[in-house]
């Protein structure tokens, strides 16, 4: 059974999907398994926004080295998202500020949004899935 079999649901419907990442990597599995959903969704040609807020912004840190905890480093995958036509990556300014981070600390290019911009983006989605 392969995810590849499921790709096209045949409906031709395009919905706005937001994946909201609020958790740091490694402490729990949500960041990794959330990313797996994002990759599958890309194959359905939906309008995908990938958002990082709260501790979720830590998923995008440069210089992650997980060898010492013997866990796969999946942070490189964020760089490959462009190849899956997932180009709308957003981070929340306030979450960055609260963690002493700037765009230079992140492994991919992102659009930084204010709280109001983020709130409006969320409100206009058809489907929001939060990890």
């Amino acid at each position: 059974m392969s995810d590849m079999d499921d790709m096209d649901d045949g409906s031709g419907i395009i919905k706005k999907f937001m994946f909201l990442n609020r958790k740091a990597p490694h402490g729990t599995v949500y960041a990794l398994e959330g990313l797996e959903v994002v990759l599958i969704t890309a194959a359905f040609d939906q309008d995908v926004s990938l958002v990082f807020t709260d501790d979720g912004v830590f998923q995008l840190m440069k210089g992650i080295d997980s060898k010492g905890i013997e866990v796969k480093d999946f942070s490189k995958t964020y760089r490959a998202l462009e190849g899956y036509d997932i180009e709308k990556l957003y981070v929340d300014q306030a979450s960055m500020d609260a963690r002493g981070l700037t765009e230079d600390d992140l492994i991919v290019d992102v659009t930084v949004l204010s709280v109001d911009e983020m709130a409006n983006l969320m409100a206009e989605q058809d489907v929001v899935i939060s990890f």
């Binding site: 709260d54 709280v115 929001v128």
Partner: protein, 99 residues
């Protein structure tokens, strides 16, 4: 939009994150351990009462009752049962669970 929060405000920042992102007029439903925030004397009560000016705040009755909190609900918080939960999801065009 309907926002659903399920964790105690004393344990997680999810209520705070939700209230930060909820636009005026949207609904917030507190379920499971999040219902404590909607009760009198709770440290998060002021936050809920302030938010109630711009948002519609709901709490799930069966979760309040299961925690001995049914008689301590803040003024301005609407208590709903599971049927009300279903109605809220149906009435709003989308929903977000702040896990």
């Amino acid at each position: 939009m309907l926002h659903i929060v399920n964790k105690s405000a004393a344990e997680r920042s999810s209520l705070e994150s939700c209230l930060r992102m909820a636009t005026k007029g949207s609904a917030v439903l507190l379920i499971e351990d999040a219902v404590y925030a909607a009760t009198t004397g709770n440290a998060a009560a002021a936050k809920i009462q302030a938010a109630a000016a711009d948002l519609k705040i709901y709490a799930l009755g069966p979760d309040l009752a299961a925690r001995g909190m049914a008689a301590r609900v803040l003024d301005g918080v609407n208590v709903v049962d599971y049927g009300g939960f279903v109605d809220l999801v149906a009435e709003h065009s989308n929903c977000q669970s702040w896990l």
